[in-house]
Symmetry: C2
Subunit: 344 residues, 2 copies
DNA sequence: CACCGATTGTGAATCGTTTCATTGTTGAGC
DNA sequence: GCTCAACAATGAAACGATTCACAATCGGTG
């Protein structure tokens, strides 16, 4: 491995001072054309590459932002991540993507790492309540924007979607289709989005004048396909007259799992069991039975969050915190449509 | 924003020298228990957080690795990424995930950024041929492991899956099922994996004693759902006696797109058109028509690549380059099974 | 011809951490 | 009581880039 090339080597090669090399790099207009060419040539010949660590040690902050999500394998988050990346890279910032698997221990470890890196700011979907570390980190001056989660107060930026409304939309739709016993699948409820979707679901049930028990809450331990299958296994063992005729899943991965398990067991969707998912990921419409789902503006969520973060990072003093809330939209597909022919 | 706390502040508060603070941080056994406690207390009180830039400026290399993939929204890559992350985080390394969208310009920009960050090493699925920048970067001492692409020589580590074999498996299966005109969908062919899968497909056709024309090659401009839909639109306009009866897609996103478009146009799968995909992503089995696909050990691909990278980074001198090649496996599902009842 | 301002280039100080040669302290062993 | 080793702690140098006050050079002007 060749020894690393520094500005000093470039300066020696070009026969100028290190200050001049730095000027060529950062304010080329202050350097005469001949010198500039000589330095550029030296840079090319030696294969000099700037050392960001040194740069930012001096400058104070780095050119990276942290993006902390619950699950990178969930298409919802990859779409959000692309939105973040688009905006960040346009501003010359790199994104460090961190995956917590909904675990506070992993979240904590990543936050420590990001703060040590002196990232320009952090976009985070918290796995649980706002942790002490996150509060401290913010107090110490790292901008933080909450992603897919509304800030409690006005002292912080957040970008979210109205999850209560989303839950309401989904369950109202199922109620209108004639369902009277509906299962809610999702969890743990410590995740704010899930709790809000459930709250919306409850509101819809209440408004319809039905008893609370009309909503059967099944808590899962994650939001992936496997958890969806598991949840359904539980539901189908219920006594016929108490069993739900529809499921509302807190995200599409759960819904796809539910769909798989139901088909596997010979249930027809939606005749025997209707399904509504959440997120409207691309795969929802391509599923075995095209999935009804609550759509969120995923890409825009990421873009907006990154914009707010950059705004705050570039101008901490003049920055005014904003809480942006997008509206969800129900997309009805086959998995929840009443069939013309009578069921069974 | 409070001024950043440095070791100097901690030292002052604890009434020791900066060297001692550093020792508490890095070699606590060299410091007497009382001093250690005093320093630890000062760290906690002031909320001191190490500055990684400064650390690594001194140390020379950082605690991050770069992971450069073609498309983060593709579940294949997110699964690979999880494998990488598992191994990296166990070794105390953070992963910077970069998305090239199969564009060499984006790849180039990210490589520059990663080198400036002085990452410990880079895992990359190149968007095209090995770029000059990548070669230079390696020459200058950054370890690079090729991911999902076999190294041409023995002078570099790589982890890949036998794509030729995968293509062969897929097309052989279709030929055995009686198909005589098969479309290959994927591209651009500058991506090595795609070219290899096509090569395997050609080999299968040849072995079956069929003319080359039995394989209809449709080149796409990407490997997503939209490109799959587009490709099919082209195929279905072909004259009946020349049109294919089966499609082999270079990945599952294309296959899902093909499936969507075919259903949309009233074609039955597999009766009117059989489909085989590639990657066997989780959504393949949950598709409208469960998708036959060539499975790759995605998670292990990532894990192994990260292991090789760490091995090389930790011991450049004693490191022996290896080219690991995994075997693909064909998973047959409904989208390509011969139906018992006669078609049409 | 002395002086001025503009234009280029210089080099030392700086960022925060780690490292290492050195100093200061203790206590054991003779 | 002296020496020596072991242990603690110190503080200055170093990492590499940037910045900034300053010096050098030049053409033009009064």
């Amino acid at each position: 491995m060749a020894a690393a090339i520094s500005v000093k080597d470039v300066a020696a090669r070009a026969g100028v001072s290190v200050g001049t090399v730095s000027n060529v790099l950062n304010r080329p207009d202050r350097v005469s054309p001949e010198t500039r060419d000589r330095v550029s040539a030296a840079i090319a010949e030696l294969g000099f590459v700037r050392n960001e660590s040194a740069r930012h040690l001096r400058a104070g902050s780095s050119r990276t932002v942290g993006l902390v999500v619950l699950d990178v394998a969930n298409p919802f988050f990859t779409d959000v991540a692309r939105g973040v990346e688009d905006t960040a890279s346009a501003a010359g910032l790199a994104v460090i993507l961190c995956n917590t698997d909904e675990k506070t221990t992993k979240e904590d470890a990543y936050l420590e790492l990001l703060e040590e890196q002196r990232v320009r700011g952090i976009l985070i979907t918290p796995a649980d309540a706002i942790s002490d570390r996150l509060t401290e980190l913010r107090r110490r001056g790292t901008p933080v924007v909450l992603l897919d989660r509304k800030a409690a107060g006005r002292d912080q930026c957040s970008v979210s979607v109205d999850d209560r409304k989303g839950g309401d939309l989904a369950v109202s739709h199922l109620l209108e289709s004639g369902h009277r016993r509906i299962a809610f699948v999702g969890g743990p409820l410590s995740i704010a989005q899930v709790a809000d979707r459930l709250r919306g679901a409850r509101a819809a049930v209440k408004r319809a004048g039905l008893p609370e028990a009309a909503l059967i809450v099944t808590s899962t331990l994650g939001h992936n396909v496997a958890a969806g299958r598991l949840a359904v296994q539980e539901l189908v063992t219920m006594a016929k007259r108490k069993a739900p005729t529809a499921v509302f899943c807190a995200n599409d991965l759960l819904a796809l799992g539910a769909l798989q398990e139901l088909s596997h067991r010979g249930f027809r969707v939606p005749a025997d069991m209707a399904i509504v998912g959440y997120d409207d990921i691309d795969f929802a419409s391509a599923a075995m039975v095209p999935l009804s789902s609550v759509r969120q503006p995923r890409h825009q969520l990421g873009r907006t969050a990154a914009e707010l973060l950059i705004e705050e990072a570039d101008n901490a003093a003049g920055h005014k915190h904003r809480q942006v809330v997008f509206e969800p939209e129900l997309i009805v597909r086959e998995s929840s449509t009443r069939l013309r022919r009578a069921p069974r």
